[in-house]
C-alpha cells in the first residue's frame, strides 16, 4: 500500500509533536528532521490544525503542539484527512456490472477492509511504542506510555 506524501508527512509530524508534548516545534524543525520542504509541510500542518489535531502557537518560540489524544487518534483518522484511498477507481466502475468486475471488486474490497482495520487500530501511542522498538532499548521516542 502506498500513501501520498502529505499523509506520510502528517503522520511523521504528529509523531514528532506527540513525542514532545511539552514542546512547540516549528515547521522548519520538523521539516529538517525528515528532509522535506517547509512549504509542503506548512500546508500539511494547516490541514492538521484545521482538523484540531495540532495547535498553532504564534510569537517568538511559536510553532505547533500536539492537541489530540495519543490513545484515541488512529492512523486512519490522519490519512483520511488527505486521501480518499477507498474510492473506487474509474476503471473498475465501468465494469462493475459484469461478473468479472464484481469478482475483482470483491477481492479489492477484501484488501481495503484489511487495510482499514489495520490503520484504524493503530493509535499514535501505539506508533510511538513501535518507534521505540525500532530504535532499540534506551532510545525512547517519547515519555508517552500506554
Amino acid at each position: 500500500m502506498k500513501l501520498q506524501i502529505s499523509s506520510r508527512l502528517a503522520i511523521f509530524a504528529l509523531l514528532e509533536l506527540a513525542a514532545h508534548p511539552d514542546q512547540q516545534l516549528s515547521v522548519a524543525e520538523i521539516g529538517e528532521k525528515y528532509g522535506v520542504s517547509s512549504h509542503h509541510l506548512a500546508k500539511v500542518m494547516h490541514i492538521l490544525g484545521r482538523a484540531g489535531l495540532v495547535r498553532s502557537l504564534r510569537g517568538a518560540g511559536g510553532g505547533y503542539q500536539f492537541s489530540g489524544s495519543v490513545r484515541r487518534m488512529t492512523l486512519l483518522d490522519v490519512i483520511e484527512l488527505f486521501e480518499d484511498w477507498r474510492s473506487t477507481d474509474s476503471a473498475s466502475r465501468t465494469v462493475v456490472g459484469t461478473g468479472e468486475g464484481q469478482a475483482l471488486r470483491e477481492v479489492l474490497d477484501e484488501i481495503d477492509d484489511i487495510a482499514r482495520a489495520t490503520l484504524g487500530s493503530i493509535t499514535i501511542a501505539t506508533m510511538l511504542k513501535l518507534v521505540d522498538r525500532h530504535r532499540g532499548p534506551g532510545r525512547r521516542a517519547s515519555a508517552v506510555s500506554g
Partner: protein
Amino acid sequence: MRATDVAEVISLDKRVTKIAKPEYWNEMFAGYGKSRRNERIFLVAEFGDDKAGRRIVGFIVGEVRAWEFGSAPCGWVIALSVDPDARLHGIGQTLLEAICIEFKNAGVSKMRTMVARDNQLHLLFFRSEGMMAGPYIQLEKDLDW
C-alpha cells in the same frame, strides 16, 4: 480459576457478548481451568477481598498449540474479556501480561490471537500491547457453494 468462578464468568461473558453460553464455559472450565496444565490456562481478575467480597472483573483463556497449520509451538489467547464497568484500569493488560508469563513458563516465545476485523476495541487493545499481523491469513467460505 475456581469452580465457584464459572457462574461469574458466564454472567460477565453474557453481558459483554449478549449471548449466554453456559455449556461452553462449563466445558472450558473442565478443560482449561479445572485440571490446570502448563499448556492450558484460564485466569480471572478479581476485585475486592475476602472481607468485602470478591467479584470477577475479567478473564483470559489461552493454550499452547503446536504444529497446527504448520506452526511451531505458540501460545494462543482464545478468549479475553473485561467487565465494561471496570475498563481503563489496566485489567486487560494485567491479564495479558499474566498469560505471557504462563506461556513463557510453558516454553514458547510467541503469542497469537484472532480478532474480528470490525472489533475495533479488541484490535486497539492488542495493537497497543505490541501485537502485529502474523504470517497467517484466515480463510473461510460458505458451505452452500
